[in-house]
Symmetry: C2
Subunit: 231 residues, 2 copies
DNA sequence: TTGCTGACTGAACGTTCGTTCAGTAGATTC
DNA sequence: GAATCTACTGAACGAACGTTCAGTCAGCAA
């Protein structure tokens, strides 16, 4: 059903159609909330044919997981250059954002971001591997940016990388809520620009004024009220 | 089954047990992935009794949504003071983090954070309301912090509030992945300290070195590669 | 004692689920 | 032309689903 722009192998087979429908429906309703019959109806074929091609519903889910993983594996191979390029203040002063990378890899109405969300939050192995690979890329990028003087060195580099990566992914995860709150979808070009502008401001100049000198490493700052209500 | 500490009405009724089980199972497996029979078995009663108390599975889901919403509505009534207190560099230099507030309100092994995750990501009205209320609180806090000179004023205050709030929530959403990556669960006291230390460092001093002067408002920094592969 | 109420159950209901299977149609191979 | 293969279908399977219902039982008011 209407795969969008140019580079796809255009002659979409029923097999591909089934997988595309599964991707979209899984992303919208979750795997448990999507039936094989739903997918078959979406792809204009019979439920039996879905299982003919993918063996089982679980097999189809794995195929979709793989598709998404490969999409990013390919993007990741060009990512370091792209990200480093985005980061270079000379060529544009970008943000080095994974979200921007994602935005550049899929059309704005793609179900992929929503599927990535499920992947990251459903506790499965595919999601764990995806996050791992992103974390490793981000860590390497962070190191190189520190080495080249673009980024400030962190006392806790793993925490720093995780912090920046997670902030970045959060925008994908909470996309609808952000759009509601600020009135612009952050996964459109204009929305991304607005989001990036603020993120860069914080990442360059901070959000808070400098604390009292000899700033404590803040390690002691746990929550002080320890209500621990049951539930 | 073993509700934890003090303030709960301790004499847990079967009705409460059913709701507690539903909260946990919905959080773990999703609503569609949890059957009424599962919940009944967990609560040690019959499926018919679950529906006797809550009318339908959907009614039970709404009851659980309400329970969580009320938990935070109560927390929110004391939140401004607590958050402002956390923010005050004089009394502790905390982070004003919603995640810390959450951590202080529920025990570390509570299913509530996972349920909040589902609430925020399942596109329902309860999640939308929850985010809205958090955004409004965060916005008000942000304004007061700017007024008192603790926070730098932002060019785009809505975006700034959304950015900080979303960063904060991200840690809850991606909790397991962060724990994997940095080796510490950020929703434990020690994990939170580590996370907070780095977050404060970024929020006070930035993550990147100051860009070339006359820093562009960065609005032009969209992704420059416009691959838009189909999918 | 009687009658009522609310918590609770076992058995069953109709539906929908994932999956199986025998079989058809259209190519391709020998 | 027969044999083989792959894509595909309609009908059915047993299991699991949410839900209904008649009925049991304990506590309590009259």
């Amino acid at each position: 059903m209407a795969t969008t722009s140019e580079p796809a192998p255009i002659a979409s087979t029923v097999r591909d159609e089934i997988r595309a429908c599964a991707l979209r429906l899984f992303a919208e309703r979750g795997v448990a909330g999507t039936s094989v019959r739903d997918i078959a109806a979406c792809a204009g074929t019979s439920p039996a044919n879905v299982l003919h091609h993918y063996g089982s519903k679980e097999g189809l889910r794995e195929a979709v997981d793989d598709e998404v993983a490969h999409l990013f594996a390919h993007a990741a191979s060009t990512a370091p250059d792209q990200l480093a390029d985005m980061m270079d203040p000379a060529t544009g002063g970008g943000s080095g954002s994974f979200a921007e990378l994602l935005l550049s890899a899929v059309p704005p109405d793609s179900p992929v971001p929503a599927y990535v969300r499920r992947l990251l939050l459903d506790g499965g192995d595919a999601g764990r591997r995806l996050f791992r690979s992103w974390f490793d890329s981000a860590r390497a990028l962070q190191d190189s940016l520190v080495a080249s003087g673009v980024a400030r060195p962190a006392e806790d580099p793993d925490a720093r990388t995780a912090f920046l990566l997670v902030n970045d992914l959060a925008m994908i995860l909470l996309r609808e809520h952000v759009a509601d709150a600020i009135g612009t979808d952050p996964l459109t070009t204009e929305g991304a620009a607005r989001w990036t502008a603020d993120a860069l401001d914080v990442y360059h100049h901070g959000a808070f004024r400098t604390p009292p000198d000899g700033s404590p490493t803040a390690g002691s700052t746990g929550p002080r009220t320890r209500g621990h209500a049951a539930t």
